[in-house]
């Protein structure tokens, strides 16, 4: 994508850039019937600068998705608070677009309508909404698939439509919850590259949750490691100094990638073992 290359020359955001998202001592608990309150996430603080791509990596079930939901405003934290561009968050986060792990498209609308509706509900005229939606369908490589219904598309294609649906609204913040989790390895890498190219167009702040360390390093500027739950917390924060623009597949052959991977994996390994150790204990 040529546009991506043009933007890549721009310097990375200065460290003094405004904060897109700040979590201040956010903790998450769940009350379950007849059981003590489950403290999923211990008080946690995290900052995401404007234009920064941050990945949260942790073992399955560590509560990283709940942190993302708190940032989206879908879940109320048990303690602490979230600020978005300096304003405390109440209700849903209107600045954020959210790409879910599971299929979130409306099955009764065609792919194009699914994208267009995101604009229509904001008051855009249908004709304009459709035109813009078609633009985004082209950008995600599905220009000719607009009239298909979600069940007529492959998992990877549905994810692309989902991406178009989120991006067409031009949100300032992008929240992604293991978005490529259900896809096969090759498709994931293709989707990763597509995401990086689209992101390079206007460099939104991204909070990307994944359990796949390779994916996290390949895509992001910073990798944040969470410990196993309960009372999960951030146990590591690594800047990723790989050159951009990147190709999500090719970057994995870079020696620097291996060094970073080894460094982070050494820490993550212990946490993963902890999760499995508890699960396997009699």
């Amino acid at each position: 994508m040529e546009a991506a290359l043009g933007h890549a020359a721009a310097p990375p955001p200065a460290s003094g850039a405004a904060m897109a998202v700040e979590l201040h001592d956010v903790s998450i608990s769940f009350a379950m019937k007849g059981q003590p309150v489950y403290k999923a996430v211990a008080p946690t603080s995290l900052k995401v600068r404007e234009g920064e791509f941050v990945a949260i990596v942790g073992p399955t079930g560590c509560g990283k998705s709940t942190l993302l939901n708190a940032t989206a405003g879908l879940l109320k934290p048990a303690g602490g608070h979230v600020t978005v561009f300096g304003t405390p968050l109440s209700g849903l986060n209107a600045q954020a677009g959210y790409l879910f792990q599971q299929d979130a498209l409306m099955p009764w609308k065609t792919a194009l309508d699914n994208v267009a509706i995101a604009l229509e509900i904001g008051g855009t005229r249908r004709a304009d909404a459709l035109a813009q939606a078609q633009e985004w369908m082209k950008k995600v490589g599905l220009g000719r698939f607009g009239d298909r219904y979600p069940h007529q598309l492959s998992g990877g294609q549905r994810k692309r439509v989902g991406l178009a649906q989120v991006l067409v609204r031009q949100p300032k913040i992008l929240l992604m919850d293991e978005p490529f989790g259900p896809l096969d390895a090759q498709t994931r890498q293709i989707m990763g590259t597509l995401l990086l190219n689209l992101w390079a167009l206007d460099r939104k702040a991204v909070l990307f949750v994944t359990h796949d360390l390779d994916e996290a390093i390949a895509l992001s500027d910073r990798v944040v490691i969470m410990s196993a739950g309960p009372e999960a917390r951030i146990i590591g924060d690594y800047p990723i100094d790989l050159d951009r623009p990147r190709d999500a597949a090719d970057i994995r052959l870079d020696p620097r990638f291996h060094t970073l991977h080894r460094q982070i994996w050494n820490q993550l390994k212990a946490e993963v073992a902890k999760t499995y150790g508890e699960d396997l204990a009699p």
């Binding site: 849903l92 879910f100 979130a104 099955p107 609308k109 995101a118 509900i121 069940h151 609204r169």
Partner: protein, 264 residues
């Protein structure tokens, strides 16, 4: 393995022919001095077909078919509208649902036939007592399906729509409504079937016209041929309605993946 359509049709016809042949033989060929299917109780396929033909040829049947069709359609429409409205209301207002829950269960558990005499008393012997009976049957099917449809909207689709910025009205139009409709249409066959059951049973219990009336009249004079002729026409009527419903369903639910049950 998939059968060739022509071959399938031939096999289906063969089943009918074998059944008719057994019936004919049972009714006309004595074993010893008894008949397997005595004509008095079972009539004969030939007679039944002649009777069906006569009913159509003389034009007597059209009035009855029209009455039964009107009752079915009215029962279906009124029951569906009421079911949709109450289904939505209950699903979006858990308090209302909780308060009315025992009564809904009670009415649904009640065999609807026992309501027929009450409806006759209230609404007379005309079509409306039959429509009312059909409505009580259709209502609960549509009600439960719409309720379920609204309750079981995928939480992810809902969260996604909310994150998109939809307000309650937009959620209703774009998420709850289509989901509820898809559940309702999945029960369309059952609902239409029950509307017809309500109409025919109502007619059977007391009326002056309709297929149920026709069957009841024939039964009253031990006219078994007439009973069977009525049943044949009723069965054909159901097939036609079912075919029409399938056509409508396919038009409205294009977005749904074809499931095995819909492909026949």
């Amino acid at each position: 393995m998939k059968l060739h359509p022509v071959k399938l049709l031939l096999l289906q016809l063969l089943v009918a022919l074998v059944a008719l042949a057994i019936w004919q033989v049972g009714a006309t060929v004595p074993i010893g001095d008894t008949y397997l299917l005595p004509e008095f109780f079972f009539s004969k396929p030939g007679d039944v077909l002649v009777r069906v033909y006569t009913l159509f040829a003389t034009g007597v049947i059209w009035k009855h078919l029209w009455i039964t069709l009107s009752e079915t359609v009215l029962a279906f429409l009124i029951g569906s509208v009421a079911g949709v409205v109450f289904g939505f209301w209950f699903a979006r207002q858990p308090t209302v649902a909780a308060v009315f829950d025992p009564y809904v269960k009670m009415f649904n558990a009640l065999p609807r036939v026992v309501l027929a005499p009450i409806f006759m008393l209230w609404l007379g012997l005309g079509i409306w007592s039959k429509v009312a009976l059909g409505v009580t049957l259709v209502f609960f099917i549509v009600f439960f399906n719409v309720y379920q449809g609204v309750k079981e909207v995928s939480p992810v689709v809902l969260a996604n729509a909310r994150m998109m910025g939809m307000n309650e009205r937009q959620l209703f139009r774009n998420v709850y409504w289509p989901s509820a409709l898809s559940w309702m249409f999945s029960s369309l066959h059952t609902a239409v079937g029950f509307a017809l059951v309500g109409a025919v049973v109502g007619e059977y219990l007391g009326s002056a016209a309709g297929l149920g009336y026709l069957i009841h009249q024939a039964e009253g004079v031990f006219d078994v041929t007439g009973v069977f002729a009525g049943m044949v026409i009723l069965a054909a009527f159901v097939l036609v309605i079912d075919w029409a419903v399938t056509r409508i369903e396919n038009r409205l639910l294009v977005w749904r993946p074809q499931s095995a049950s819909e492909q026949n």
